[in-house]
Symmetry: C2
């Protein structure tokens, strides 16, 4: 019981501090102090500051995946509704994932190589899910057949989604524009449709 309590306490405090001050401005001494644990305890549970941050972001990503999986696993949804619900939920959850926002800067100035795997894994996972939805829509005869260029189309589409994350989450435009993200999705879904 105690192991979970300390590890979770550290993760909790770390999540808050990383979210508030960013990775580089948050020190392990500070996390230890606020968590009321010895700094050595941090290193007992996490190999490094990088591993701690990676796990903090992984928790956010796993939360995203589990919430999206409810949509993905709902076989009563037709493909066009499913992709719409998926994308809307995606943006909604990521809007609250403040440590994930921190990693968006990785392409530009604060480079976290140690976190590339996590981000690549999410891209890979997401590409697979969207591919499934679209293929299901093709099978259901809802969507046009895109099977001959699906892979690169999905690559570009993932770029579009990630590109939208910058204004939405780093420039705080999500609240203003999210209601209208719908409209763009309507166009997307219609474009995919038969």
């Amino acid at each position: 019981m105690k192991i979970d309590s300390t590890k979770n306490k550290i993760l909790q405090v770390a999540s808050k501090l990383f979210s508030r001050y960013g990775f580089y401005k948050t020190s392990m001494d500070e996390i230890a102090r606020i968590a009321r644990r010895a700094k050595g305890s941090l290193y007992y549970h996490f190999k490094s500051k990088e591993e701690l941050f990676t796990e903090v972001v992984a928790i956010e990503i796993n939360n995203l995946k589990s919430q999206l999986s409810e949509i993905l696993n709902n076989n009563n949804l037709s493909a066009n509704i499913k992709i719409k619900d998926y994308l809307i939920k995606r943006m909604e959850i990521l809007n609250t994932a403040s440590n994930y926002h921190e990693t968006l800067k990785a392409d530009f100035f604060e480079h976290f190589e140690f976190i590339d795997n996590l981000r690549n894994n999410l891209d890979t996972w997401e590409k697979k899910q969207i591919k499934n939805i679209i293929q299901h829509g093709i099978t259901e005869n809802i969507f046009e057949n895109h099977n001959n260029n699906m892979e690169v189309l999905l690559d570009v589409f993932i770029m579009v989604l990630k590109g939208l994350e910058i204004p939405f989450f780093l420039q705080n435009k999500y609240e203003k524009y999210s209601p209208h993200f719908d409209d763009l999705l309507k166009i997307l879904i219609k474009g995919l449709s038969k």
Copy 2:
């Protein structure tokens, strides 16, 4: 004749050096030396280093606008072809506008407030052109009626375009993915269509 020659020479050399080294790592002494002009000449023609860079970027943007205007002004093109040609040409020209790429970093680390007007003006211009194309398509009965939410839809769409610029131009993914940008455009156009 001489006036144009010196000013153009400065712009030419500046464009190359800013493109190669970026705004901050390029000095006015260096521009003057390579242009074989006195530094005083630079300040005769341009109020400041910022004004020089702004004009260098403006030249790229004006080139973009004039090339796109050939498409925009071609009334033989129907709206769906026009928007496709517009977007493809847009990315193609911007791929070569290396000083414009420099300004893409403005949102993240190298901030050029002095250039915000130029970038905002381009967004405004572009929004207007795309709006015109879509409205024309509505009039031609090619596109669905989107008039009730057109403004915000265009805002989000501009975000999407700008979001794509990061991987395309800052991460050198344009060559690989531009052939497939087409496919995404097909979906977009179909989504807009009746």
